[in-house]
Structure formats: structure tokens, C-alpha cells
């Protein structure tokens, strides 16, 4: 009786969200898995079990393997770039320079723009057309006499094309990563820094040996956030150049094969693989942070 009185209200309060998550997240994950093992092609659902046939076909599907190659390059460049730039900006702003609030806002703004708009802006900036159609960066380069810098951006050869898209994605999210690192840096107690300074450490050594080791947790969350965004990126690439094999990722192929060609089973198989990919990053993270919490 006492137990019920103690736990009852809590369970009652979380029940709605438990049910919603159960149905709309785990229920549909299961449903998606079922579809990926079915023969559902065409508009009318069909759930006849075909085993892993759809997955086996994807392994032989040149369009799919090409898109996997693209997403790997994209993720490496985007995650690496955003982490590096975000960390660097946070390092600069951490000096409490004059007007740091202003710069913080400036660097954060791109995150407020929807990725569709980011894609439209960067599509224009990285347009590789010549002559009268020349726009954006290439035009800027030729105007200031740096023609040799002009290049084909997202129309360049693989794997460089998808790297250009990663620049746009990095531009949009570096500010957010900066905010994460900045919060982490500011969270480091001044006592620790003082102690290091008293021991005669230079400012650089204080930063490197005292502050950065305490940013590991921030780094971990930043990586997880960036990688899962990267795997799911759809709007940015779709709006920049849809159906271009140079930059197509599995999420884009999934959309086209599902809603243009009505291969619902193949789309579901790609979705499942994407989820497995995201889980491969997130599950170790959750496991790690749960263990860390228990240790406390």
C-alpha cells in the first residue's frame, strides 16, 4: 500500500509519454523492420515474409553502395570540421574578448536557419556555372583575381563533391558545437585554474592540461549529436542537388525508392540500416554515460 502511494503518482504521470514513445517510436521501429522483411512493393501494403532478401539486394545495388560511400565521407568531414571549428571558436571566445556576446550570437545564428534555406544559400555560393551564370564564391574569386581558387564544389569528382556539402552543414552547426564547448569551458571551476597558475603553469598549459580534459563529456555528446544528424541529413542534400550520384546519401535514396518507385520494402530496409548505423554510435555512448553515472 505504501509502495503504491509512493510510486503510483509517478507512474501515472509518465504513463502517457511511455505509451506514446512505445507506440510511435518502438512500435513503428518494429513495424518498419517488418516491412523491410516483406515483399511490399506498390501502393497496397503487403507483409509476406521474404527474410533478408531486401538487404541482400541492397548489397548488390550500386546506387546504395555509392550512397553509403558518400555518407561516410560526409560524416567524417562534417563531424571533424564542425568539432574543430566549434572548439576553436569556443577557445577564442573563452578569452572573454570585448563583445563576446555579439560574436557568440553571430556564430550561433546559422543554426537557427532551416537546412533547406542553408542548402539554397550554399547552392548559390558554390554554384560552378561559368560566364553569365557565375555566382557566389567562384564569382568572388574571379572578381578579386584569385581564379585558381574557383572549383566545382558539389559537382566536383567523388569524393570531393560531398565534402563541399559538408562545408555547408558544418557552417550551419559549428556555432552550436561552439556553444556546447563554451558551456563546458565555463563550467570548469576557477579554483582549479588558480591552483594550476599558482603552480606556475602558463595560460596555454592551464587550458590544455586543466580545462580540456574536463571537456571529454562535452566532446562525447557533440560527436553523438553530429553523427546522428549527419546520418539523417536529407533536406540539405535534397535541396542542393537531388538525385546527383556525387552527393546522394542513403536517406535520399530511401525517399526516392519509397515514394517514387513504391519499393516500400527496400525503403524500409535502408531505414533500418540507417537506424543500425545511428545506434552503433549512440548505444555505446548511453552505455558509457550510464556506467559513469553509476560510479558516482
Amino acid at each position: 500500500m505504501y509502495r503504491l502511494r509512493r510510486w503510483g503518482p509517478a507512474i501515472l504521470l509518465i504513463a502517457p509519454s511511455l505509451v506514446l514513445i512505445g507506440v510511435f517510436v518502438y512500435g513503428f521501429l518494429g513495424w518498419n523492420l517488418t516491412v523491410s522483411l516483406s515483399d511490399w512493393q506498390g501502393l497496397r501494403p503487403s507483409y509476406d515474409y521474404v527474410g533478408f532478401e531486401n538487404y541482400a539486394r541492397l548489397a548488390d545495388d550500386g546506387r546504395f553502395t555509392n550512397s553509403v560511400g558518400n555518407i561516410i565521407v560526409f560524416t567524417l568531414v562534417f563531424v571533424g570540421g564542425a568539432l574543430f571549428v566549434g572548439f576553436f571558436l569556443a577557445y577564442l571566445l573563452e578569452r572573454r574578448i570585448r563583445g563576446d556576446g555579439f560574436f557568440r550570437a553571430i556564430f550561433l545564428f546559422p543554426m537557427a536557419i532551416s537546412l533547406i534555406a542553408v542548402a539554397i544559400i550554399w547552392r548559390w555560393l558554390m554554384n560552378n556555372a561559368t560566364g553569365g551564370q557565375q555566382t557566389g564564391l567562384n564569382r568572388l574569386f574571379s572578381a578579386i583575381g584569385l581564379d585558381f581558387l574557383a572549383n566545382d564544389w558539389f559537382k566536383a569528382d567523388q569524393p570531393f563533391a560531398v565534402m563541399a556539402v559538408a562545408i555547408a552543414a558544418g557552417w550551419a552547426l559549428s556555432g552550436y558545437i561552439m556553444a556546447l564547448f563554451l558551456a563546458g569551458m565555463r563550467g570548469v571551476s576557477d579554483d582549479l585554474r588558480e591552483a594550476a597558475r599558482v603552480d606556475g603553469a602558463s595560460e596555454w598549459r592551464v587550458f590544455w592540461h586543466v580545462v580540456t580534459p574536463m571537456l571529454l563529456a562535452v566532446l562525447m555528446s557533440a560527436v553523438v549529436i553530429l553523427v546522428h544528424i549527419s546520418f539523417k541529413t536529407f533536406d540539405l542534400i535534397f535541396a542542393m542537388d537531388s538525385e546527383s550520384r556525387l552527393i546522394e546519401t542513403p536517406a535520399i535514396y530511401m525517399w526516392f525508392t519509397t515514394f517514387d518507385a513504391f519499393n516500400f520494402n527496400r525503403g524500409a530496409a535502408i531505414a533500418t540500416l540507417l537506424m543500425v548505423g545511428v545506434s552503433a554510435v549512440i548505444v555505446p555512448y548511453i552505455w558509457y554515460s550510464m556506467r559513469a553515472e553509476r560510479r558516482k
Binding site: G42, L43, R44, G62, Q133, F256, F262
Partner: protein
């Protein structure tokens, strides 16, 4: 029997007729739920006063398209003032987003009263999955079998059934050019064959011009189908989609090689993100040619404000003189449409001469019927109207716009083409297309 006479009959209704109409309305209301069950729906024209709702689903939200649809819906509203018209449109290029929304509505058994699909093979999955009613009885009833061209009726007939009403015709096999650019390069007129195009391309490039512009993948597919048509002729071309022409034959491989050569003289490395920006270099005088359907007319004429024949010009794409590569928008009658009678009234209007002559001049296309009022189609439109209604012009369906290949096969062709424009490997492309034809026949 046309819509007009049907309407007049209603208007002249006297008491007994009105009574019967009221009774049938009550009956219809009572049987509302099991109306439209599988194949049991009455194959007869609705009688009585029209009332209730009518929901039309389309992806027409852009300029021209949207106005054409609104003109037709307005006409419908005028004829049936008591019907509440719901215009459900989902924006998105070539209807991709609308497809997703529609697929989920059809799958969950909540169809609109009528929806838009390209006429031809694109409708095959809807037919196989039993989402749309066979309305060949309506074609018989309205006398449409005589007013639509035979080639069109052949293409949209599936196992003896017809499942949608084509309202318009767009022409795919057109080459658009800037006369000033040709003059500058010392070229008299557009190429009559793709071989001649290659020769012209050298001259154009010598004059510092791009010979041909392309846009995203679907525009490249649009170019491909017209190179194939120009190189292979209408019969062999038509056989590509029915399994009669061997994709891996010498002839087809040669035509595919030609496509690769043509692309080498295009700006494919700088392909624009959509078809309008692909046309811009022509407007600006940096490029000579673009192969695009006749929706480009509105872009040249209205958006860019150029004059036909002076600022821009157009003719059949190389090697396709006397051929008409068509695509068509059509409207369906979904099984279990909530307001089936109103949907039939809509289809009657869409298939009527009055309906098509209202819709098409605004949309920028020609009527699918051959008896449209020619005075409404001037300027550029004289040429396609004349060709469409002529028996001497061979009519074939478009690949890129859903006429000849069903969605599953076309999806595989898209993937293969993506690879092909990168590699230029004709044999591999032909093999992939032939293989996927077999794979998607199941």
C-alpha cells in the same frame, strides 16, 4: 452525350423528374457507405441535384498549373453550385511530395474523390492495387472513344479497362533555341538529326557558346528519351517499353552512345538544379539549345518576356519530325470515393470539350481530345495542336513523365541513368534496364 446537354436536361426538369431525382438522392444517401464497393459501383451517370462535397487532389500549386486547375474547378462550381469543392494540393517538384501524401491516403482507405496522375504506365500500380475504378463505361457513355486519338487510348487501356480521364497533352520532343546565338555562330537553323547537332556543336563551341544545356537527373532522362526517339524512330522506340525492342541490340547501344556524345557537348558538369535555371543560359545568350517539354513555353514567354520566333524558337527535337512524344495529366475515379457521383460529374467535365478548352489555354497545354477549339491555341501552340490532331504524326509516350514505364521500373531506370551519365557505359546501362524490366514484371 456531353456535359452541356446533361446539364440542360437537368435544368429543364419538371416535377415528376424532380421527384424521382429526390428519391434517388435519398437512396444514394442511404446506401452511401457500401456505394463504391469492389467493382459493384453502378456504371451509370449520376442523376438528380448535385450536393455534398467534392475533393480534388493534385500537385498543381505552381504558376500556370494552378490557374488551369482553378479555372476548371470554378467551371465545376458554376455548374454545381451546391457542391462544396475542396482543392487539396500538395506542393513539390513533379509531384514527388504529393505522391507520398497520396500513397498514405490510398493505403489507409481514405481516398480523395478524384486525384491527378500522369496518364499511362504511372497509373499501373494504382490499377494493380485496385485503388481506381475502370471507367471505360464512362468513355463509351460520353462518346470519348471517338474524340481521343487511338494512340492515346491504346496507351491508357489496361486489359480492356480505362482508369483515368486525360485532360491535356504536353509535348516532350522539343528543342528550344536562341536565334541570336545561332546567327552569331553562323548556323542557319536547328539540327535535323543528332549527327548534325554534333557538327553544329563544334561551331557553337568555337564561338564560345555552350551547345546544349541540361538540368537535374529527370531533365537528362527527358533528353535521353528524345535522343532515343530521334535515333531509333517511333516503332523501335515504342518497343523499348513493351519488351519488343532488345535494349542490348546494336542499334540501341549506338543510340545510347549518341546520347553520351551529345552530353559531352552539354554543360552536364555544371547542370542546373532545376529546368528553369537550365534554360537561363539560353535566354542570356551563353548557350544555344535546350531539350524540354512545352511547359518551357510559359517560362520563355511569360517569365522571361521573350517573343516567340524572335527571342526564342522551338521545333521538334532532332530526328523527330513527324513524331509526337506525349505526356498527359489525367484524373481518376478512386474506388470507395466518398462522393462518387460528384467525382463522376468532375470527370464528365474534365473530359468534355468545354472543360478541356477552359483548362488548357490557362495551363499552357493542348487538349487531349482532338476537337478542341483551334482559335484558343495560338503562337507556339498551333504546331503541337496540328501535330496531335494529325493522323500522319506518330504518337509515342514519354519515359521521364510516366507514360510508358511503371513506377517500379522507372525507379530502376533512374538509378541506372544516374550511373550511366557518370560512366558513359552504354552496354552496362542497356543491360541494367533490360534486367530491371524482367525483375519488375512479377
Amino acid at each position: 452525350m456531353t456535359t452541356m446537354s446533361w446539364r440542360q436536361r437537368n435544368r429543364g426538369a419538371i416535377a415528376p423528374v424532380a421527384l424521382a431525382a429526390a428519391a434517388s438522392l435519398v437512396l444514394a444517401a442511404c446506401g452511401g457507405d457500401d456505394d463504391g464497393g469492389d467493382g459493384e459501383a453502378a456504371e451509370e451517370l449520376p442523376t438528380g441535384e448535385a450536393s455534398g462535397e467534392f475533393e480534388f487532389f493534385s500537385w498543381w500549386t505552381g504558376g500556370g498549373d494552378s490557374e488551369g486547375k482553378e479555372a476548371l474547378l470554378e467551371l465545376y462550381q458554376d455548374q454545381y453550385p451546391d457542391v462544396e469543392v475542396v482543392d487539396a494540393a500538395v506542393a513539390g517538384g513533379a509531384g514527388t511530395n504529393a505522391q507520398a501524401v497520396l500513397a498514405s491516403r490510398l493505403g489507409s482507405g481514405e481516398p480523395p474523390d478524384s486525384y491527378q496522375r500522369h496518364a499511362g504506365a504511372e497509373l499501373l500500380s494504382d490499377i494493380q492495387d485496385e485503388f481506381v475504378e475502370d471507367i471505360s463505361w464512362l468513355f463509351e457513355e460520353e462518346g470519348w472513344m471517338e474524340v481521343y486519338p487511338e494512340a492515346l487510348l491504346d496507351q491508357i487501356t489496361v486489359d480492356g479497362g480505362i482508369y483515368s480521364v486525360p485532360v491535356n497533352i504536353h509535348r516532350s520532343n522539343l528543342i528550344w533555341w536562341n536565334p541570336a546565338v545561332l546567327q552569331e555562330a553562323g548556323i542557319d537553323g536547328p539540327p535535323g538529326s543528332w549527327d548534325e547537332f554534333l557538327t553544329q556543336a563544334e561551331a557553337l563551341e568555337g564561338a564560345g557558346k555552350t551547345a546544349l544545356t541540361v538540368g537535374p537527373l529527370w531533365t537528362q532522362q527527358h533528353l535521353l528519351e528524345n535522343v532515343l526517339l530521334g535515333e531509333l524512330g517511333p516503332d523501335v522506340y515504342a518497343g523499348l517499353w513493351t519488351g519488343e525492342t532488345d535494349w542490348e541490340s546494336q542499334e540501341v547501344i549506338a543510340a545510347l552512345d549518341m546520347f553520351t556524345q551529345v552530353l559531352e557537348h552539354s554543360n552536364i558538369g555544371q547542370a542546373a538544379a532545376d529546368w528553369q535555371p537550365a534554360i537561363d543560359p539560353i535566354v542570356d545568350g551563353d548557350a544555344a539549345y535546350n531539350v524540354m517539354g512545352d511547359w518551357a513555353w510559359a517560362y520563355f514567354e511569360t517569365v522571361q518576356g521573350l517573343a516567340f520566333e524572335d527571342g526564342y524558337n522551338v521545333t521538334a527535337s532532332p530526328g523527330t519530325e513527324g513524331m509526337f512524344n506525349w505526356l498527359s495529366d489525367s484524373f481518376t475515379l478512386p474506388i470507395d470515393a466518398p462522393n462518387r457521383d460528384n467525382a463522376i460529374r468532375w470527370l464528365q467535365l474534365a473530359g468534355s470539350q468545354e472543360g478541356q478548352d477552359t483548362f488548357n489555354p490557362v495551363k499552357g497545354s493542348i487538349p487531349a481530345r482532338t476537337d478542341g477549339d483551334a482559335s484558343l491555341y495560338t503562337g507556339y501552340f498551333e504546331m503541337p495542336l496540328e501535330d496531335w490532331t494529325s493522323d500522319d504524326v506518330a504518337k509515342v509516350g514519354s519515359l521521364a513523365h510516366g507514360t510508358v514505364a511503371d513506377s517500379a521500373w522507372k525507379g530502376e531506370i533512374d538509378s541506372a541513368l544516374q550511373e550511366f551519365v557518370g560512366s558513359g557505359d552504354s552496354a552496362a546501362f542497356a543491360a541494367a534496364v533490360a534486367q530491371s524490366y524482367e525483375d519488375t514484371r512479377e
